[in-house]
Symmetry: C2
Subunit: 276 residues, 2 copies
């Protein structure tokens, strides 16, 4: 019912946002209204853009293992360039550095590690949370003034933003939710990178006061390979996020993203600025 399919020939809004046209030795891209945040674009869309620039580069070798995106300055609505270069290519790993530039200023920097993965001994130490299925939970209504929240179907098991003037009595900042692209889109590395940033600022789960906040650095480790992402398809992934520490203007957040079959797809860690 809330999963309107795009018209034939129209790209998914995320693919539209991730459009990168070869431009000299880099790419030309632009922000899209579909992923607008209160100020500038949704950080997850920018993280996905930085990764996409690496993955579409002709020198690419391997799939993502680690991605760090540093939000160095505001991104104005409109065009930008992304320059990505392989820093070093080894037999089974490749290291990248990328910058998103507007005018003559770097707005975002990133490093990425790609690798060719092989079967090994494996083990997951943390447990898939005991949660009700996504279909049994109502979708969170998109938030006003954050257009990007229309692009995700989010169903909270706990830790939903209340939208009220006072925070819940719960002393912790953990959220747990089912989340997928809206409209549905097969999961890939870029969309998983974007989803790693869908968690609302943990500060607002702890404290009702509205203050400016913004992610300054986001690191995502990819545990899934391409086959695991393909197996997940368009179905919602389960995300959990919590903070360890808020202090002196910065807080951290650690998150896990799980497939609905209980496979750990990614873990993600970020540090966020807050005023006061």
């Amino acid at each position: 019912m809330d999963t309107l399919a795009p018209a034939a020939g129209t790209p998914h809004p995320l693919d539209d946002a991730l459009r990168l046209d070869p431009d000299g030795d880099g790419f030309a891209g632009r922000t899209t209204p579909a992923y607008a945040n209160m100020v500038g674009p949704f950080g997850g869309a920018i993280a996905a853009t930085m990764l996409a620039a690496v993955l579409r580069h002709p020198a690419r070798a391997g799939d993502p293992i680690a991605l760090t995106v540093n939000f160095a300055g505001p991104i104005a609505d409109g065009g930008f360039r992304v320059n990505a270069r392989p820093v070093r290519t080894n037999r089974s790993t490749q290291h990248w550095y990328a910058e998103l530039v507007q005018g003559d200023r770097v707005a975002t920097s990133a490093t990425a590690v790609l690798a060719t993965r092989r079967e090994t001994w494996s083990s997951t130490e943390i447990d898939f949370p005991a949660v009700p299925p996504a279909a049994s939970i109502a979708r969170l209504p998109p938030l006003e003034r954050a257009e990007w929240t229309n692009r995700y179907d989010m169903r909270f098991v706990h830790g939903a933003p209340t939208g009220r003037a006072h925070a819940p009595a719960d002393p912790g900042s953990e959220s747990c939710l089912w989340v997928r692209d809206e409209p549905p889109r097969p999961l890939d590395f870029a969309s998983l990178a974007a989803i790693s940033d869908v968690f609302f600022p943990r500060l607002f789960l702890r404290r009702p006061k509205w203050v400016p906040v913004g992610t300054v650095s986001l690191t995502t480790f990819f545990h899934a390979d391409a086959a695991m992402l393909a197996a997940q398809g368009e179905r919602a992934v389960l995300g959990t996020a919590r903070s360890n520490r808020f202090g002196a203007g910065y807080f951290d957040q650690s998150a896990e993203l799980w497939g609905d079959d209980g496979a750990l797809l990614a873990t993600s860690h970020q540090v966020v600025y807050y005023k006061e």
Copy 2:
């Protein structure tokens, strides 16, 4: 008894390892035998070197908030160059990119975020572990063929490497230890960055088989400001580390570093290659 003070005028081994001589628009450094690992230098010393190059750069503004170090290739014993440049300087934050180069190849890349911190509302959500004091626990004997382990006084509460052919029955990979520089050295951002990499590979706590392993990307978030580090002085910090997932040649590790007064100083996350 095991805290021999260095001779007067002799720098601490860590300060010797972190020696960087201005060289053109970068720095010249070199590996030191004191921090040798089985192959190449201890990664923590390299992480500290990358951060030191940023903190000693004349353009530096602020203290570290986030550091990501990518171990792109092997580092040969001997000299290297570190080139660090500010990517963007804002009113209260500064973003950096740095590379460690040997010959014409990049061996290590890094990004760092510095900031001027201000007092704000604060809260720590995770609890300082209930542990016996460092003085009540025996020091772990340094490991053969890993000279750098002589440079740390490590006292394990649990999860010590067994050195035996078989792993303990404990199904988890968590370690908890008191750790400080040996000989003692006042804690600063660089030494904290190094300590964020002292945890032995989680794989060996889970599986007795020896295989080649190596950190490929390490991200540390600094929750402490300079005053908190100064207050910690030379006393041991408490470190905890565990893995979430091992699979297809890579595992992750998340760690916390606490002051002995219960203040969370840093959280750190890495992804590690393993063969088989």
